[in-house]
Amino acid sequence: MSSFKNRLLARIFTRFPSLVERAAEKAAPLKIEGIPWTPVTKPLKESTVALVTTAGVHLASQKPFDMEDPDGDPTWRELHSDIPREEYTITHDYYDHRDADRDLNIVFPIDRLQELKEEGLIGGVADTHYGFMGHIAGAHVDTLIKETAPEMTRKLVAAGVDVVLLTPG
């Protein structure tokens, strides 16, 4: 599908969310068993929070997500807290990100998280967050579940992150 057609569809989907629901119904059902669960044991005001977004956010200096592959791109990008916001960009043709280009926080609420830390509601903001592209299908689903998501997760664990907030595009 051409990038123009994707962007056009993205605008239509943004305008009419019920179409997204219908597209989701048509998609091949995944076999998903059980629900992983880790109880919250630490108070939020002592917890370090990291963000994981599937909105296609990355740094302009990083490799953009692959828009040519119709099954999407299962790789991730490291997003650092202390990077000036204008160095971030979004590569994702499957939703209309013109508003998010104006204010990254509507898909990647990094500034809001920083404010909650200053307010004392959370203990800290992780130094590193992660950006994925949320349009993954076909064989890439397996790559995501078995390789790239666990790889990123190991980094979150190693960094001592206590809580992860996930946001879509």
């Binding site: 997204v20 998903i32 629900i35 880790t38 990123m152 809580v163 907030l165």
Partner: protein
């Protein structure tokens, strides 16, 4: 998003996601989520609306602490561009 969330939760870190497509979140069996009937590309609201963005992040973190049943999706009562709504109190049980 839900598939990634499940991997993080499985590794021992509690997670919460902001969903704008309820059906997808139900199908992938995300551990915990808050849901808003807001347009694609706007899970935290509109550009420059710090109040909207803050309220969604706060509610999500509250839901993280309160949800005890795996797979719970909390429907937030905020309608798109109804600015009075964001002052609504939400009791997450």
């Amino acid at each position: 998003m839900g598939l990634i969330q499940r991997e993080i939760e499985r590794a021992g870190i509690p997670t919460i996601s902001v969903s704008i497509v309820r059906k997808l979140t139900e199908e992938v069996k995300a551990p915990r989520a808050v849901f808003l009937r807001w347009p694609m590309g706007h899970p935290l609201g509109e550009p420059g609306r710090v109040d909207q963005q803050t309220v969604v992040v706060k509610r999500a973190l509250e839901a993280l602490e309160k949800i005890k049943e795996p797979g719970t999706i909390v429907d937030l009562p905020y309608r798109w561009r109804r600015y009075d709504d964001i002052r609504k109190d939400v009791v997450i049980t």
